[in-house]
Symmetry: C2
């Protein structure tokens, strides 16, 4: 399809959570997973991947957990997504070395490469800090009423 993997999704949730508890203690995978009703082991897996890629830092031991490695304003959604899923490429053809078997005859490659860069641009623009701000707004709205339908129509 054209979808973010669930892991990347969880990764964004986790990183956002860490951003909002930045000044406090390190958050364990257990704590985060519990808060959002996600499988603990799966969340742990996502976090350790983020740690390996340097997005978060892990602290071992009984009081351990994870913390953001950088300032929330310095971490983009693209950083998180590509840390978990690898480089964002909308087609296999787009990769630097990648030539699919259709190679020279395939003329959609160049236009798609341009589209790919646009998407990278969008994703790298959005920072964790922005996503956290947005959360606060929504939380306030949620307090004033349930607000189910309406207010968001997708342009299909």
């Amino acid at each position: 399809m054209f979808k973010l993997s669930k892991k990347a999704d969880y990764g964004l949730i986790a990183v956002k959570h860490l951003a909002m508890h930045r000044q406090e203690h390190a958050c364990s995978a257990n704590e985060i997973a519990d808060e959002y009703g996600i499988s603990v082991t799966l969340m742990a897996k996502v976090l350790q991947r983020l740690a390996r890629e340097g997005v978060v830092v892990a602290k071992h031991g009984s009081t351990g957990g994870y913390q953001l490695a950088k300032d929330p304003g310095q971490v983009s959604a693209l950083d998180v997504i590509s840390a978990i899923d690898g480089p964002v490429l909308i087609t296999s053809c787009v990769t630097s070395h990648g030539n699919c078997e259709t190679t020279e005859r395939c003329s959609v490659r160049e236009p798609l490469r341009r589209v790919n860069e646009s998407i990278l641009g969008v994703l790298s623009t959005v920072t964790i800090a922005q996503m956290s701000e947005d959360t606060n707004e929504r939380a306030l709205v949620a307090l004033s009423g349930p607000m189910r339908s309406g207010s968001h129509m997708s342009s299909s």
Copy 2:
């Protein structure tokens, strides 16, 4: 991941081919698949999907084949992709009715929805006509030399 499906890829190739042979006879699935070295049956499957969605029109019979339903300038990459893969949604949460189990607690939904719309915007901007133009440029360049590496660095 975050990748276009192969079928969508093939769909774009096929539609582009049809755009470039617009004034001529209808192109059969066999002809297109052969030209790009793709499995005939798979290409047929992709084309019949595009026909069902109204992107191309099918002509039965011995001199039959496929033709573009609209002007190449009126068909966007998004039209082709969503015809084959369904609506483009970067997360399952983004859908109109869709509430993942994390529902209210998940605060990444709104920011991601915005990102999703940006991507839709990019994809709907690119038309088949543009992609065909681009092809012609590349063909000319290909004549003057192999040109392998260089000229495109991805921002990773």
